[in-house]
């Protein structure tokens, strides 16, 4: 992302809307400026700010008079008055930042389908997490901190060493050169993203082990980790296996996502992805 210095009037509105806090008004050039190291190309500034198309010179002149008189104009806080934000053509590996940060990004250039994960929200048609299994979503960077990909590799190495298989359809798994060791591509390690989710699945008997492993490694990672644990309910819609484990580990579960089991396969059989027989789905 770029801010056009010919358009920017240094109103400062954008400095508040950046989730990474990476925009500031440079006191020397008196223009809003993006710290490119910290910017994760989430496009919150470009997508979220409304825009006017005012004449920059006129706005600067008015603002100067207001400042001289110590007067404060009280404009709308979610507006860029001169439409100064301009997307740039991102090259590899920087484009990875956007793929994992901008929820509206298209990902042809990366081959990565966003940050998105299946979790259990389509489990009623994919049967990805079955009875006796637990799916973990280990998210790094959110809310509002961000994460360097080299930090996540510490976790993927540890998980791989524990013999855990990474979810194949997860975009983060696609950044690995070796899923057996959890090693990421060298050229993406110095990229920072809004958040990334490592997704794994294990037998329910390994639930506590994985949580303890995450606890141990997250101490070496300079960001926030959000842990999600998904599992199947029994035939009565009850879940009496994982919740007691979490309670024993001291978790007070405040919130959950519940799959209602209303989905079914409606596509013609020939459109199903290879390797996923219909018999495995509900």
């Amino acid at each position: 992302m770029k801010i056009n210095p010919d358009k920017c009037v240094a109103c400062g509105n954008c400095t508040y809307v950046c989730p990474m806090g990476a925009i500031y008004v440079d006191p020397v050039i008196k223009r809003a400026t993006i710290n490119r190291d910290e910017c994760v190309e989430c496009y919150a500034c470009y997508n979220g700010l409304s825009t006017e198309h005012l004449n920059p010179s006129a706005v600067r002149t008015i603002r100067k008079f207001f400042q001289m008189g110590r007067l404060r104009f009280d404009p709308e806080p979610d507006v860029c008055p001169t439409a100064a934000f301009e997307p740039e053509e991102l090259q590899w590996p920087r484009v990875v930042r956007r793929a994992f940060s901008d929820p509206r990004a298209t990902h042809e250039s990366t081959g990565v389908q966003g940050r998105g994960t299946e979790e259990v929200k389509t489990n009623d048609v994919t049967n990805r997490v079955r009875q006796g299994e637990v799916g973990f979503t280990i998210e790094f960077g959110r809310p509002g901190i961000g994460v360097w990909l080299r930090d996540i590799q510490k976790m993927t190495w540890a998980l791989a060493e524990a013999g855990v298989a990474f979810e194949k359809r997860n975009p983060f798994t696609l950044l690995m050169t070796d899923v057996a060791t959890g090693t990421l591509r060298d050229d993406v390690l110095d990229e920072k993203v809004m958040s990334a989710i490592v997704e794994i699945k294990v037998g329910v008997e390994r639930t506590e082990e994985i949580i303890q492993l995450v606890h141990r490694i997250e101490k070496e990672v300079a960001t926030v980790v959000s842990l999600g644990v998904g599992t199947r309910c029994d035939d009565n819609g009850e879940e009496k296996i994982v919740a007691p484990i979490l309670a024993r580990l001291g978790y007070k579960i405040e919130r959950a996502k519940t799959n209602m089991g209303l989905g079914r396969i409606t596509n013609p059989v020939e459109n199903k992805p290879k390797g996923e027989p219909v018999s495995q789905t509900r």
Partner: protein, 225 residues
Amino acid sequence: MTNTLHRYGSAESFDDDYIVFATPSNGKNDIDSLPKLKKFLEMSLPFQPVNIGDPVHGGALRPSKDLHTSANWKRDMTPNFRAVIDGLTEPASVVAIFDNQPAAEQFLKLAAEADLGLSVNMSASVEGAVECCRFAGITRHSVGYSLGFEGSTEKLPNTQLLALSTMCGHGMISSSLAKKMIDWVKEGRRTPDEAVTYMARFCSCGVFNPVRARRILEEARMKME
């Protein structure tokens, strides 16, 4: 809708927050899903959702790319639900947010009866979702628990800022903007309703709950944590 799961707050704080979403699955039920997704959103309207949306175009409050200067004094703050439904052009998760359990229950029951064939999920407190299922006669298929935030939690802002900023699961509402809005409400520079609309426009998928946000702003006006 991945991270509606990790909204910050106690179970009680989700009493006015029920997220119901329909998701097509690639290769499973995505073909011809667009009219079903639109129907899902249409069906929600009689139950007066506080927001609806999709991850491609956003929610019922959206930024304008051609704002007239007069908007600095008089700005339309009305959510446009019709634009969300009409603007849905491709299969994607669609979402309806409710601020009370009876509305969520009724809608869930109707969605089950409609038998759209799409995966339907509710993101809410565990107990809230269980009660909605009971009312709608639904047997839960799967459940995903949020274990909350761990690791370098010292880097997180205060709880009110967290509660506001995590209402955009994609992280598009910065804690700095949330802080600014609390400050402006405290100063009387803006009303909570106005502050809520500013934040809602940054949410890229429409999961932002303006009623819950207004409540948090009102609480913060009296006592910032």
